[in-house]
């Protein structure tokens, strides 16, 4: 079996005794970072829970302003992007770097589609005046303080969209590094970590979707 010469970026760092320890430490670190992201979003979920519990009528009435078709489409898009991400990592694990780059690009593309759809949703709301807080000017929703729903909607989906953008930057960087042959079946930790982050972004949307679009 040929030994691939190392790219200059991979090194067994001085304070680790072997590559397994280094890789496992990286994964552990990433899981802890994902824990912090769960608690970061969690604050907004808490605000959602409290405002929905005390204003169930507004949440029910206001959620109809959201387009269910676009929301479902976006959910499908993100799920597919998770699949392509997982398959991309798998390809690199099997030393099929070109396929890996292809699937990473597909993930990037699907993420872009998600953001485009979100852009259309947001601009529609801007157009109608369904905005958070003091900017709310829409008159078609019954109930006191309907802007509360939109405050929660925009903060949650806005923060999520920011994370999608950050994920896209990370995936682009992985595509760049993969094209420069930094990764192989022997070493793919950064892609794996990016994948973990991306799956978390998907998981957050899996909860956002029913909470915002499917208020019963």
């Amino acid at each position: 079996m040929t030994i691939h010469p190392p790219t200059y970026r991979w090194e067994l760092l001085d304070h680790y005794s072997d590559a397994t320890q280094q890789r496992e430490s990286a994964k552990l670190g990433m899981w802890i970072f994902l824990l912090t992201e769960i608690l970061f979003f969690g604050g907004l979920f808490c605000a959602y829970a409290i405002y929905r519990a005390s204003n169930p009528d507004i949440f029910f009435n206001a959620h109809k302003a959201l387009d269910l078709h676009l929301g479902t489409f976006n959910t499908v898009v993100l799920i597919c992007s998770s699949v392509t991400m997982a398959v991309a990592i798998r390809s690199i694990q099997l030393d099929r770097i070109k396929a890996g780059i292809g699937f990473l690009t597909a993930t990037l593309g699907l993420a872009a589609v998600f953001l485009v759809v979100k852009f259309f949703e947001y601009s529609h709301k801007f157009h109608l005046g369904q905005l958070p807080g003091k900017y709310y000017t829409y008159t078609g929703i019954k109930g006191t303080n309907p802007h509360l729903f939109f405050s929660v909607y925009f903060s949650m989906t806005g923060l999520h969209a920011l994370h999608v953008i950050a994920g896209m930057i990370a995936i682009s960087w992985m595509i760049y590094r993969a094209s420069r042959k930094h990764f192989s079946a022997r070493y793919y930790t950064p892609v794996e970590l990016t994948g973990m982050y991306w799956h978390l972004v998907d998981m957050v949307w899996i909860f956002l979707f029913p909470l915002l679009y499917l208020v019963g």
């Binding site: 691939h4 001085d14 899981w31 802890i32 829970a49 499908v76 699949v83 997982a86 099997l94 019963g216």
Partner: protein, 163 residues
């Protein structure tokens, strides 16, 4: 010194010593326990399951079930999230400690939401208490005919101060 490697090693960010394995050791699935490669069918299967569950949750949301709409939607969302976590993120196959970390995050989030809602959901409780005198037969409460010029709030009124 001008190469990136040179600079990084100069400042200890990549160390030239103690590093016996200049070539990456074989970390592929064939030789290392734990770095498994999952079959493509599994990923596709989970993906299809997620899409089916999405369709299910959208369909059920159209049926009015009252408060159970939220319960059902959250259950389905939880299953979807667990599928992503266990299979796409390899939680099922990896070191069980990662599961502890994931569980801890959810648990503390739950504590946060639960204890906060103990406050926000029970704010009104005090109003049931205020209306009732603590001990109706106590001397401190007015027993004379109601005075129409003052308020009827008799809690804690000491007779000498009334008037």
């Amino acid at each position: 010194m001008l190469s990136p490697y040179g600079m990084l090693s100069r400042y200890g960010m990549i160390s030239p010593y103690g590093n016996q394995n200049r070539y990456a050791p074989d970390m592929s699935a064939k030789s290392k326990k734990g770095t498994h490669i999952l079959p493509l069918k599994l990923y596709l299967g989970v993906g299809i399951a997620l899409l089916v569950l999405t369709a299910t949750t959208v369909t059920i949301a159209q049926i009015p079930l009252g408060p159970y709409n939220l319960v059902v939607a959250m259950c389905i969302a939880t299953i979807k999230a667990l599928l992503v976590a266990f299979f796409f993120m390899h939680l099922w196959f990896d070191n069980k400690f990662y599961l502890v970390i994931f569980g801890t995050a959810i648990a503390f989030l739950g504590i946060f939401i639960m204890l906060t809602m103990f406050d926000t959901m029970r704010r009104g409780d005090i109003y049931q208490e205020v209306a009732k005198p603590f001990q109706p037969e106590a001397v401190i409460y007015e027993k004379a005919t109601p005075d129409t010029t003052t308020s009827h709030d008799t809690t804690g009124v000491i007779p000498s101060e009334h008037k």
